[in-house]
């Protein structure tokens, strides 16, 4: 197997194992452990087998082509530093799996736990082994996700749920920032592959996006590695089972941020920005973590804050920017993982055996579990930085580094003090941990009598503590080569000379170390007894990062709700208003900011009469809108008046044909609407009981009025701006030139309709016919049941009037009411028909045409219905609108198809003038027949709708009427 395949396999195995573990039976604890442990061991052996190549400075790449277009290949890359981290992940993984076998109780669904843990291990391997930035960001988020699942593993526990969610929100959000930072970084470097990025230091430093990218990447790393001010999630993640805390939250996942900082150290560091962004954060975290750890009463809480503090130490080292500091950072990362994981495991054993993690309740465990106590003491000593243990070595390097000058600012002067104080605190909490738990007699009897754990549960700790000792005593022989290859990989040419030895002589770092040890001890002797009474850590405890976080989240939700209530609405009117206002604003922008102005054509002035006409029209429209809610009839009439103003404008602008059509359309629609209105209440005077509109309604309608006026003015302005520009060649010229020459008519509109665009017209009349039939059937089907309709109010009034007068029959008033207009309308019928025919015939050359004629004809029939009533009209007149429609359609289609007979395309017209006796020269184009079709369809459609409406009036209303007033009562 080639190293490339091996790499791929090592990353894939944990995921496959995770999948398999998910399907194991719930109680299969041992099998799941074996599966998981085997995978970790195989992975470790595999990675280990690649060490010879890595130790020679080779970089192993496994590239699977995937998305070359996005510069994305599935790349895994093994170099010195990633080898070290991968080994850490796998070896720690194996130890934690062994430990977890004994830690988890029988009731827990252990296979699920191992499934999550393996998936986490895989994604952590993905992070450290990925060879391109996007892949790292991907696996990065996956680690957050599985951390979430692992923290929330005991989901019946409220604090586990909260802790899991908080951890995911903080690290997940950081991960998204990291992703964008990586995208920017890839953009600067010209590719996402790690080799490309690592080779383009200069391009990255000189890019204007460097600060942004750095900030985003740092946010990502700081959230993951629990740096101040994002550190608060880590203590709450301690609700997880202890193996998870040992593995994720001390050894691996929290080191992911540190890993990225180390990995990108060569290209990102070396600027002032880096120094001032990273080092102070690290220093603050170091100090705060150590301070708060002193006052913890929960074992795991103490360890969590101690972890935060140590992570701060590593970040501070990386921030210093010197190669030696980077070496120290890498070294301390490994050391911290070993001693902290063993301490977590010891804490887990203590919790397991005694049933509590509260330092105040614990004590005297030395008597019950001396082996565990010894192991914990060694590990804690390493944490405190006691010589001959690994923690001491890296701490020495750290102290040596902070004594150097790095920036020439105040920070240089403060750092040694700060480092010493933090180290003293570390000594203090380490002593407290050991002393309180193992030696002081407990204040009250322990919940359970503890004894030593099963030996195999202790093995992982033994191994780790042994590692602490070996590294601490023989550093060069144990960790030396591995550290060297990692350092060479990260620092390249910059790799400094350093010496891994226990004894460097009496120097300043040693002095600081000893001061810290002594200081910690003295502090514990002085104050140690009082620490048990501490409820929260003084000074810093006030910060309460978690509560701040929750308050921010809660506040955010409240603000979101408030904003939503403010801006969101379910009501239609405000939505319309918003739509209009935005459209207005958008249209106003070019005028206001982009210097758009009216055109250059001359202003021709306004005729006062024309202005008056528009004033009237506008007022009518306004009034219509104002009354529409209260009095529909009045509104309709006003709308008609506004339409009339439009008609007159057309006449004014020399478009008689358009004017005629518009007029007729106005009439027909108004009348049809009028007929339709009879089903609606005539007026609604009772909307506001006090007959006065409330102020807010008035304001609202006033606002709407203003919007309408502004929108109208805006449209006018745009139109004006358009019309004052020189006219480019338009299609109108074509029609004026060719209407007579090719269409044989001088009425251009009509020629367009029946000739140039005859096909369109054919389509339009078809649509018209369909619409009419649809309206007809809708009105027939969806009319109110006769049981529910009442006699219209007008008829009731009239009937009452008739009843009150002895000499009148009910119905007389209706008959008499329109006597004179009725007569006139009846007489007008033939005249209108003649007029319609006239319009039809002359349409080709003069205003008129089939459409106008059809409308005119319909008006005639409409008037008949209005004057005489449905029954009477239909007694005398055979109106068969469906036939009209059918014949019209046929006529139009056949005329068009007729052209085929002569070998022309569909709808080609033929025209000539015929000399008819008496009438004179008459245009006889084939278009006339087509126009006839149009005429018939228009008549048929209009009348069909009319009939549907009119027939409503001959139905007998059966609804119960309101009690009728008795005759005579109101006579006086």
């Amino acid at each position: 197997m080639t190293p490339q395949h091996l790499l791929l396999l090592i990353v894939a195995l944990p995921f496959l194992g995770s999948f398999a573990a998910a399907f194991l039976p719930t109680r299969a604890r041992t099998q799941a452990t074996l599966l998981a442990g085997l995978i970790a061991v195989v992975g470790a052996v595999g990675i280990g087998s690649l060490y010879p190549a890595v130790s020679q400075g080779q970089i192993l790449l496994s590239v699977t082509p995937w998305l070359p277009s996005l510069d994305l290949n599935l790349t895994f890359r093994l170099s010195g530093v990633s080898w070290l981290f991968a080994m850490l992940v796998l070896v720690m993984g194996a130890l934690v799996i062994l430990y977890a076998r004994y830690y988890m109780s029988d009731e827990d669904p252990v296979p699920r736990f191992f499934s999550f843990l393996l998936a986490f291990m895989g994604s952590m391997l993905g992070v450290v082994l990925s060879g391109n930035l996007i892949q790292i960001a991907f696996f990065w988020e996956v680690t957050s996700l599985f951390s979430f699942l692992l923290i929330g593993y005991w989901h019946h526990n409220q604090s586990a749920r909260d802790g899991a969610r908080m951890a995911l929100m903080v690290t997940g959000a950081g991960g998204i920032c990291l992703m964008l930072g990586f995208i920017l970084l890839g953009q600067m470097a010209g590719g996402f592959s790690l080799d490309t990025v690592l080779a383009s230091k200069d391009a990255i430093h000189s890019s204007p996006y460097y600060p942004l990218a750095l900030a985003l990447i740092l946010i990502g790393c700081f959230t993951k590695s629990a740096q101040f001010p994002f550190h608060f999630w880590l203590p709450h993640a301690m609700a997880a089972p202890t193996p998870v805390s040992a593995y994720l939250h001390s050894a691996t996942m929290v080191k992911a941020g540190v890993f990225i900082l180390i990995l990108l150290w060569p290209v990102l560091s070396g600027t002032d920005l880096w120094y001032f962004a990273v080092a102070p954060i690290g220093a603050i975290t170091l100090l705060i973590g150590a301070w708060v750890a002193i006052f913890q009463q929960d074992l795991k809480g103490l360890l969590a804050y101690s972890t935060i503090s140590h992570l701060g130490l590593i970040v501070l080292l990386l921030g210093l920017g010197s190669p030696l500091a980077a070496v120290a950072a890498i070294f301390h990362t490994v050391n911290h993982a070993t001693f902290k994981a063993s301490l977590f495991m010891a804490a887990g054993i203590i919790d397991h055996e005694t049933g509590t993690r509260d330092i105040r309740k614990l004590g005297g465990l030395w008597n019950y579990m001396p082996i565990t106590a010894t192991l914990a003491m060694v590990a804690a000593a390493a944490m405190a930085g006691v010589p001959l243990l690994n923690g001491f070595l890296s701490k020495e390097m750290f102290l040596a580094e902070v004594l150097e000058d790095h920036s020439g600012t105040l920070i240089d002067a403060v750092l040694p003090w700060l480092a010493t104080i933090a180290s003293a605190f570390a000594v203090l909490y380490s002593i407290r941990f050991i002393h309180q738990v193992f030696f002081v007699a407990p204040p009250e009897p322990l919940p359970r009598t503890p004894h030593e754990p099963p030996p195999w549960m202790r093995r992982p700790i033994e191994i780790l503590v042994l590692a602490c000792l070996l590294i601490g005593i023989f550093p060069a022989a144990t960790i030396g080569p591995f550290l060297a290859s990692a350092v060479r990989d990260t620092l390249g040419d910059q790799a400094p000379a350093y010496s891994l030895a226990v004894w460097h002589g009496f120097n300043r770092p040693l002095f600081l170390s000893l001061t810290a040890l002594a200081g910690g001890l003295i502090l514990y002797i002085l104050f140690g007894g009082r620490l048990n009474a501490a409820k929260a850590s003084p000074v810093v405890g006030r910060l309460k990062a978690r509560r701040t976080f929750e308050a921010v989240v809660e506040r955010g939700i409240a603000i979101a709700g408030w904003l939503h209530a403010l801006a969101g609405t379910r009501r239609l009117q405000p939505q319309l208003r918003v739509l209009m206002i935005f459209a207005l604003a958008a249209a106003a922008l070019p005028f206001l900011f982009l210097g758009y102005s009216v055109g250059s054509e001359r202003w021709t002035g306004v005729d006062p009469v024309f202005a008056l006409l528009w004033l009237i029209g506008g007022s009518c429209a306004l009034a219509a809108a104002w009354t529409a809610k209260f009095h529909r009839l009045a509104a309709l009439i006003l709308v008609g008046a506004a339409g009339l103003a439009t008609c007159i404008s057309f006449v004014w602008l020399s478009a008689p044909d358009l004017a005629l059509t518009q007029l007729l359309v106005e009439i027909v629609t108004t009348v049809l609407l009028l007929l339709g209105l009879r089903w609606l209440p005539k007026r609604q005077p009772d909307i506001w009981p006090e007959t006065r509109m409330p102020v807010q309604v008035l304001a609202r309608r006033g606002g709407d009025l203003a919007i309408a006026i502004i929108a109208g003015l805006g449209m006018a302005l745009i139109s004006y701006a358009v019309m004052t520009r020189p006219v480019t060649d338009s299609i109108a010229d074509f029609f004026t030139r060719n209407a007579y020459a090719e269409g044989g008519g001088t009425n251009i509109v009509n020629v367009i309709l029946v000739d140039f665009r005859a096909f369109d017209t054919l389509g339009e009349i078809t649509v018209l016919a369909i619409v009419a039939i649809t309206v007809f059937s809708l009105l027939r089907r969806f009319r109110p049941a006769s049981d529910s309709i009442e006699t219209p109010e007008q008829q009731r009034v009239q009937a009452d009037f008739d009843r009150r007068h002895a000499d009148r029959e009910v119905g007389d008033t209706v008959t008499d009411a329109l006597m004179v207009p009725r007569l006139i309308m009846q007489w007008m019928f033939p005249v209108i028909i003649t007029f319609a025919l006239y319009l039809l015939l002359r349409g080709h050359d003069l205003p008129g045409g089939g459409f106008a004629a059809g409308i005119a004809m319909s008006i005639g029939i409409l008037l008949q219905y209005m004057a005489m009533g449905t029954r009477e009209v239909e007694d005398r007149l055979m109106v068969l609108p469906i036939n009209w429609i059918g014949i019209g359609m046929l006529a139009a289609a056949l005329t068009g198809a007729g052209a085929w007979l002569f070998g022309y395309p569909l709808l080609t017209t033929f025209f000539r003038y015929l000399d008819v006796p008496l009438i004179g020269e008459v245009p006889a184009a084939s278009a006339l027949l087509f126009d006839l079709g149009v005429f018939a369809v228009v008549v048929g459609s209009t009348v069909l709708v009319l009939i549907a409406l009119a027939h409503q009036s001959i139905r007998t209303p059966r609804a119960a009427r309101p009690a009728e007033p008795k005759a005579g009562e109101e006579q006086g």
């Binding site: 277009s69 988020e141 929100m169 998204i176 964008l180 239609l572 939505q575 249209a587």
Partner: protein, 483 residues
């Protein structure tokens, strides 16, 4: 070009139109009991149409005097649209039976809307665009009010109609202004006309603004988004699922074509508008969703939020951006369909729909697989790896950075952090909260729905990455037809 050639280029639309009429006639004669048959007929019709789409050569072909274009972009979008429409038809079957609204018009209306959408994405002329848009919208208005016995549905239809008509009016006004100032409604000629003058064609800018307003309404981008939650909540759930998917694809595709093809000469101008809409949509979508207690409203805000991300890709105005939008659309389509499928399959003991978040509490205990599916969709919508939604977000951010729009990308990240909050909240409710008292049943006998749900969940899961290669290739080819 002869009519026959045009007809063969426009074969997908011809097939759909003819099929719609056949289905309608069948429905009229066979009555409402034929719903099931008609639905399957519609699905088969979509399949046939897809065949004609795939059959087309990837070369760019124009038909009917250049008003219609068939290219790889339209082909890609049509496949998505047809898939979304087919899902919408199928998923409705059990629902319609349950709410006793099984009317044969449903599949017919969907087919008609699909026809309109296909015309939209093949438009090479502002008027073709308008016709397609209106055909889709008219069918959609009716669909929104399809559940006639329910007041919410009727209200949704009315609102959608009134606001939609207003936005269509704006669009048409914009079209006429563009025509007036550029002298053509054809995309290629508009592009040529805009770049001809040398100086900025200010008049066309007006037209552009109004056209964009109309299009923004259809994709429900802020500030033209307000109808979305109301309509999604009120409309029958399958219809809401339809609205959230296929029409979004069509409108977004159309948006891309108009912006990157017709108005390619005014990128600097419209980019401002698109950036504004993008930022506003991302934040309004994210913030608005936080306070929602109804799942459908939540999904509506989620779709607004996602449209904001897609607009990032559009604002990039380069090939990478365009293919990112297409990738986003594809993944979004599946995620959203999946989420609605889950919502659709939740009913209480009496068979009423379960739509509030509170009712979903602890669903993981009573119906673990359903909860898992919903969690996958939510996390995928949040863009969390290892789910497929991550790729969509990555692609648009990458395109934005590519185009130098880093501030937009940063704001996008910020809003996705906010958005992640409410997606995670749903997951938390599903898995961690104590179970609600509501008995949640799965839809009985909805084998097909469950199948689609599983397919969608698998697509959104890490397994979806296996499809990324061909998908990226397809989106790149499709996007290349715009540049």
């Amino acid at each position: 070009m002869t009519l026959a050639q045009s007809l063969s280029i426009g074969a997908p639309e011809v097939v759909l139109a003819a099929g719609a009429l056949v289905l309608l006639l069948l429905g009229v004669f066979r009555g409402n009991d034929s719903l099931k048959g008609l639905s399957w007929g519609a699905v088969i019709l979509f399949g046939l149409t897809a065949l004609t789409v795939i059959d087309d050569a990837p070369a760019r072909e124009l038909a009917w005097n250049q008003i219609y274009v068939a290219d790889s972009l339209s082909a890609f979008l049509k496949i998505l649209i047809l898939a979304g429409a087919a899902a919408a038809v199928l998923m409705a079957l059990p629902y319609m039976q349950r709410v006793k609204q099984h009317r044969f018009e449903y599949p017919v209306l969907i087919v008609l809307a699909t026809l309109g959408m296909c015309v939209m994405v093949s438009a090479n002329n502002l008027l073709t665009l308008y016709i397609g848009l209106e055909l889709m919208s008219l069918a959609a208005y009716v669909l929104a009010a399809f559940n006639r016995d329910e007041q919410r549905s009727t209200e949704a239809g009315l609102k959608y109609f009134v606001l939609g008509a207003l936005s269509s009016g704006m669009l048409l006004y914009g079209v006429s202004l563009v025509y007036g100032f550029v002298g053509s409604t054809e995309f290629t000629r508009i592009a040529a006309g805009l770049s001809a003058g040398g100086e900025r064609n200010m008049g066309a800018l007006f037209g552009l603004v109004f056209v964009f307003a109309g299009l923004a309404f259809k994709v429900s981008a802020v500030p033209f988004h307000m109808w979305t939650p109301d309509v999604y909540e009120g409309a029958p759930t399958p219809v809401a699922a339809f609205f959230a998917t296929a029409p979004k694809v069509a409108a977004m595709g159309l948006f891309m074509r108009v912006a990157l093809d017709a108005f390619s000469g005014m990128i600097a101008d419209w980019r401002q508008i698109v950036i504004f809409m993008s930022i506003a949509s991302m934040f309004v979508g994210a913030v608005g969703a936080i306070g929602q207690s109804n799942v459908k409203r939540l999904l509506a805000y989620s779709s607004i939020n996602n449209v904001g991300f897609m607009l990032i890709g559009l604002a990039a105005a380069n090939a990478a951006g365009a293919s990112a939008v297409l990738l986003y659309l594809t993944i979004y389509l599946v995620m959203t369909l999946g989420s609605f499928l889950v919502v659709l399959s939740l009913t209480d003991a009496d068979g009423n729909a379960v739509e509030t978040l509170d009712d979903l509490a602890g669903l993981a205990r009573s119906r673990p697989w359903l909860a898992t599916a919903l969690a996958i969709f939510m996390l995928s919508l949040a863009g969390l790896p290892p789910l497929f939604g991550f790729m969509a977000k990555l692609a648009v951010f990458n395109a934005a950075v590519d185009a130098g729009l880093w501030l937009l990308a940063v704001l996008g990240v910020l809003s996705s952090v906010i958005a992640a909050y409410y997606y995670l909240r749903v997951v938390k409710i599903l898995f961690f909260d104590p179970p609600a008292d509501v008995v949640v049943n799965g839809e009985g006998g909805a084998v097909i729905n469950n199948g689609m749900m599983i397919a969608a969940a698998v697509f959104c899961s890490p397994i979806g990455y296996l499809l990324l290669g061909p998908l990226a290739q397809a989106t790149r080819t499709a996007a290349s037809s715009l540049f």
